[in-house]
């Protein structure tokens, strides 16, 4: 792994809806503003797995998929559509993703053993 400091495009509500359809995750907190607020959230939030994959995609883009053997994260705060995203990673595999300046995800990535196709 290498040191990374990458601004990423903000997620759109359309991406949340596309992701819900792709993985069949229709929890209303991802598309129903009223339900999300009643659940104590600031509004609709990105699916945790989508946030995970956005961070993974940045790592894959920077290092190649064959360099990613495992990726473990803790989700620290919800990501709302439109929030500015920023990914940082260190050479020893520590990864963080901020959304709107707040830490949204922290984790570790490790290299794959051998070379994957």
């Amino acid at each position: 792994m290498k040191n990374l400091d990458l601004p990423l495009p903000a997620l759109s509500t359309e991406q949340l809806v596309r992701f819900a359809g792709a993985v069949q995750d229709f929890n209303p907190i991802h598309y129903d503003e009223q339900f999300a607020r009643a659940a104590g959230l600031p509004g609709v939030i990105a699916q945790g797995p989508l946030t995970y994959l956005v961070a993974l995609d940045a790592l894959v883009g920077a290092c190649g998929p064959e360099q990613v053997g495992s990726f473990a994260v803790r989700l620290k705060a919800p990501v709302v559509p439109g929030a500015t995203l920023h990914l940082q990673a260190t050479a020893d595999g520590k990864v963080s993703l901020s959304a709107g300046g707040a830490e949204a995800l922290i984790g570790t990535v490790s290299a794959a053993e051998g070379n994957r196709a």
Binding site: Q15, A38, Q47, L53, D57, V73
Partner: protein, 136 residues
């Protein structure tokens, strides 16, 4: 959350890593230059492989109080477009902490003959119910 489900297979599914689903996930990722490669690593999210409602019902999750706390994937290889995949999910840990319930679920993805493709480990947190009369 139903703590008595620890160790039991909760969900089993036979899936196909359809190219059209890879395309859908790639679109959801914003069609970045590597979105197709990333989609092959993360096409399925274990708890929702047979629909999120089945997962919610299987463990008695309260959606208004549930949050994804963490997720880990260990890859043997990416999914191959249009290959057949078997998925099996179990609850592997359950804890109560500060009024919250924390459940850990492991999903193994294999080929139809049992060769490993990837393992996902997913942590869900169910927050304590609000006190009656508490503000939103």
């Amino acid at each position: 959350m139903k703590r008595d489900r620890i160790g039991q297979p909760l969900l089993k599914a036979s899936l196909v890593a359809h190219q059209v689903k890879l395309d859908e996930l790639s679109h959801a990722l914003g069609d970045t230059p590597t979105a197709q490669q990333t989609a092959r690593l993360g096409l399925f999210f274990g708890p929702t492989v047979v629909g999120y409602r089945n997962f919610v019902d299987a463990i008695g999750l309260d959606l208004e109080r549930a949050l994804l706390g963490g997720h880990e994937t260990r890859w043997v290889r990416p999914f191959v477009p249009d290959e057949q995949v078997q998925a099996e999910m179990k609850m592997v840990d359950y804890q109560e902490r500060s009024g919250m319930e924390i459940g850990v679920f492991e999903t193994h993805f294999t080929t139809p003959v049992g060769e490993p493709i990837q393992v996902q480990r997913t942590t869900f947190i169910e927050r304590a119910p609000r006190a009656p009369g508490a503000s939103q």
